[in-house]
Symmetry: C2
Subunit: 353 residues, 2 copies
């Protein structure tokens, strides 16, 4: 610790993402990356980019990304915000809309970065327990909340809320801002984006890290009414004028516009997820229904940390969380069919002792 750290800096407990192994070769099912490469159009676009132009600052508004997103979702460009990964977009949203005078609520089991943002910006928050089956219990969110944030499908459980249910919440609580983190929406869920034109209390956050296979390029999006987007732009322009580099911008455009490739790869992942779920259930493994690119599983008679270690010994990385309520569960990313065949075989061996 340095004597120059501010009080807030001293009190932080940063978010810890899944391991990125450097040495040994693992089947990496621990950070919800896409097992397929990005669209060939992304590669073509980067390979054809005039790299001399990197001497110039990027387009400040991320204009070409916004155009591509507006076209894909059929919404106006002014309802789109682009940032350096959805982590940055979420952080800027917390800073833009909340402060130490406003309380926010989120499920006790959800993306564990939300309480970290609250600590960073000194925003009071309440964690509302999910139900026994891990679904979000919307009846217990206090009327005093300025914001409610959740991932849909939720992480790490995979549980899903339909836009109908969300629309009811938006109507019931017009003075609460809902931030719906749709990082995993493209694996079978239905997006809330069509609701943004009707409700000014909805911000939808997306990422190109999962369904577009661009985790390495850090591209996140937010979509909402133009006043919410303007707020994000104000804060962004007070933090970092150019968060999106030029190669990320052209890659994002190419990825978003290649609908065919997007549909093909996410369909493959959905099919592999369903296959894996069936096979694991046949073994007697508890598997939550999932609309995401991961499964939430519990192996009977083996603790979460123990299962993680045994899988690691066999060359498979998965994720386990220390929170007692879910400590016996593993979050396992859907890889290729071959990856998952090996996973199922390995879990079978582990269960046989």
């Amino acid at each position: 610790m340095s004597r120059f750290w501010s009080k807030n800096t001293k009190n932080l407990t940063p978010y810890v993402p899944g391991e990125q192994p450097k040495d040994r070769k693992f089947i990496k099912l621990n950070t919800n990356e896409n097992p397929y490469p990005p669209s060939p159009r992304v590669k073509e676009r980067i390979q054809n980019f005039k790299l001399d132009d990197l001497r110039l600052y990027p387009n400040i508004e991320g204009a070409i990304i916004k155009q591509a997103v507006a076209k894909h979702y059929d919404i106006p460009e002014r309802q789109v915000f682009a940032g350096n990964g959805s982590d940055e977009v979420l952080a800027l949203a917390f800073k833009t809309f909340f402060d130490n005078t406003t309380k926010v609520g989120f499920p006790d089991v959800t993306y564990s970065f939300y309480p970290v943002y609250c600590a960073l910006y000194e925003i009071p928050f309440v964690k509302v327990p999910v139900k026994e089956n891990f679904s979000i219990d919307f009846t217990h969110y206090g009327k005093d909340l300025k914001g409610i944030i959740f991932a849909n499908p939720n992480a790490p459980t995979g549980s899903y809320v339909s836009p109908d249910v969300i629309e009811e919440l938006l109507k019931e609580r017009p003075d609460t801002l809902f931030i719906v983190d749709e990082a995993y929406i493209d694996f079978g869920g239905e997006s809330c984006v069509p609701l943004i034109s009707m409700y000014d209390n909805l911000l939808v956050v997306h990422t190109l890290s999962k369904s577009r296979a661009l985790a390495g390029l850090r591209i996140g999006l937010a979509m909402g009414c133009k006043e919410l987007i303007e707020g994000l732009v104000r804060v962004k322009d007070s933090f970092n004028s150019y968060p999106l580099d030029t190669l990320a911008q052209v890659a994002a455009e190419a990825a978003i516009l290649d609908t065919q490739y997007f549909n093909d790869t996410r369909q493959k992942i959905i099919e592999t997820r369903e296959w894996t779920q069936r096979k694991l259930r046949e073994l007697g493994v508890k598997v939550q229904d999932s609309m995401a690119n991961f499964l939430f599983v519990s192996i009977p008679g083996i603790s979460g940390p123990e299962a993680l270690l045994k899988l690691r010994e066999q060359g498979i990385l998965v994720r386990n969380f220390s929170m007692p309520k879910i400590s016996d569960w593993l979050r396992i990313t859907i890889g290729t069919k071959e990856d998952m065949e090996f996973l199922v075989q390995t879990i079978k061996k582990i269960m046989a002792g």
Copy 2:
């Protein structure tokens, strides 16, 4: 404005960077970009990068950048921090070290993003007037300041403080954190980086946007004692785990390690700056001494905004600032020799009326 904006969001006045023209072709001398392309090694590295790997998250620590910087400056890796452009690095530094209980000071004429960061994080600040000749007047910084921040060479004036003077300040004020923003240090100045091993109250901030010609890739650095760097990492990991995408990381490494190209291009820029300064002075234009890749000039009898417009009409973009003290001055980036020959000719014409 949205009713969901926080009070702080409502009160922000974001930083406005220089224009990035989209339509017409200009000689762009308004944002201090490098007139030469990035090192050929950067291009080679990006062209040879296995783009399929973009499906994976980047190295979280920016390890290869830190190694390259450590090698270049002969300092330990743990004394290096890498972020998404020096704007992000500076923003994170303000958040890490200061808060609403601590006052910071900076020159009234300097990088105009500093007061914007203070507004974003509600950090009290004082602007201390520069001297008549635009040099920084260190005698008037109050003893109550937790931090003193300035650009060296300073922007937009080009004035420069030697490391000897900075070392005296570090000794005199051991409880004040000095953040020295060396965005322009590679154009003839001497860096303070060697001082970080001796003083725990010095953070030096660099960018790859200027002397390394990578403005399009957003790479910034901070160097300081390991406790200062640890503080930055804590805050970064509470904001955005992966601010540096994979292509930016490999490009940064290639650029930093190509010392030959770096020395050749900055030498050309220095020579062109000296030539331009001499030619403009011969015309009777007031030109500040500059150790940066820009000149701060005032054309007799023509106001700053008027001069900017006249140059724009002739196809040259420069920068003017509204602050009364410097409103009659222009900041003109050093371009290629041909760019500057055209600039000198154009100013000559404008002065002839």
